[in-house]
Amino acid sequence: MDMSYDADLNFVFAHTPRVSFGVNVVGDLGNWLSDMGHSRAVVVTDKFLAEKTDMLERVKKSLGGRFAGAFTDVIPDPTAESIDQGAAYAKEQSADVLVSLGGGSAIDSAKGMSVVLTEGGKILDHEGYHALTRPQTPHVAIPTTAGTGSEMTMVTVIKDPARGQKTFIGSYFLHPDLAVLDPSLTVGLPPKLTAATGMDAMSHAIESLLSNLRNPFSDAYSLEAIRIISKSLKRCLDKPDDLQARGQMLIAAAIAGSAFSNAMVVLNHALAHTVGAKFHIHHGTANAMFLPHTMRFFTDVSADRLALVAGALGLDTKGVDDEQAALQAADRIEQFNKEIGLNDRLSDYGVTEEDLPAIADMALTDGSIIYSPKPVFDLDQIASVARKAL
């Protein structure tokens, strides 16, 4: 099995921040900031992490005299208003660096705040893609989940309730300057969340491999992420304090994040975004539900890539053709979901056959869908994929 690239291959691959990995490396944060020349750090996190865990205290201890304050009002799916409030707080504290601590919402909030701190105005004044023309306020990202990969991406997603929509700001200047991957920060993640965020990372890896914007760099990252997740996610569930497995998952999520930051995601994420918005299904859980069906849907055009997924999943595909290997990979993902306890179906969340046309219609308008390896413009086609997860 091999995967070739067209003669007109043309891509940009943005390399990602410095990464500091290791158990308890959060303790090195102060030294890092000293090396980077920063003296006033505002930590961006949520109330739960600030009040119910020792994580904020660990970060504060590491920052020492560089700790300038903590904005603890990060909300899930950050709104423009919450980001503007965070930026105002950081400005009051004369922050010269932001340290995000949490999942994708904290990291995305800090990205948005860094823009407002540098450019002024409000966050929605700056919506766009590659519209920023200079470095933004420095940002150190410390993920406490292994899934979103936001610590490696150049995008922040912002909810704008006034317009009833989400918007994006994307720029090479939004990559965090440093990602601190400390497995000791993820051991307390509950099993269901560990599984769901892990499958979000798996979806990033597989979808970026399928995307029209894939390239040799993103492919290499994706395949390695798939290999690691297939070996490590179950171990995290069997033994939550297995620091080696937790560390592997942090690495996999980060490199899958780097892959999809460059190659984007496809139909699977379009569906997951849709059912997340309409039925409040956790993003990772939704991705897991759809993933095997999305893989089967694209087998006719992407069998070679999915055969590589089969290999990365550790399947023995000797003697079978790419299409058979691709289907084996999809079957394996379905089985894997069961093994990690993600047996959810759309019907568990009240979704019925009657909802499918609306789900298809909304997914069709999701930006992710346009990178799919074959054109997906037909509502019936999209509904047919969603139906399999009912």
Binding site: G128, T365, D366, G367, F377
Partner: protein, 140 residues
């Protein structure tokens, strides 16, 4: 006779090309999100002395107005897409997909990306219509 790009004359010809395109009419029929400004960065070596914008007032599959503007007026529009002369030429020759160009930072978008990508077919038709204008590129 080929028309210089960018110029007022080219903009008028492009508006005509768009408004006679049935496929654009169909692809853009749900566009109600306002004008799009396309900015060509200054390239003095070929005679583009300053950043030049042309604004397309697009609405439900029709280009109601198209005109050359200065940067100040362009930046007031809900969507502003900026690129170098060479990059716009690549787009018009279908060597650079505009959405892919935005993702890669070859074109800069100010405005709501999800709205733009929802209209990927309309974007393709906007590019198709440029082929129907007999264009003279200033660097040729």
């Amino acid at each position: 006779m080929p028309i210089d790009f960018p110029s007022e004359e080219w903009t008028t010809a492009y508006q005509e090309a768009l408004n006679t395109s049935e496929s654009y009419k169909e692809a853009g029929k749900n566009w109600t999100h306002g004008p799009i400004a396309l900015v060509v960065k200054a390239e003095p070596s070929i005679g583009v002395e300053q950043d030049t914008a042309f604004i397309l007032d697009l609405h439900q599959g029709v280009c109601r107005k198209a005109w050359i503007s200065d940067l100040e007026e362009a930046n007031k529009q809900p969507f502003v897409i900026t690129g170098s002369y060479a990059q716009w030429k690549q787009v018009m020759r279908k060597e650079l997909d505009p959405i892919k160009g935005m993702m890669q930072g070859k074109l800069r978008l100010k405005g709501n990306l999800p709205i733009i990508v929802r209209f990927v077919k309309a974007a393709q038709e906007l590019v198709e219509a440029t082929a129907r204008v007999d264009t003279h590129f200033l660097d040729e």
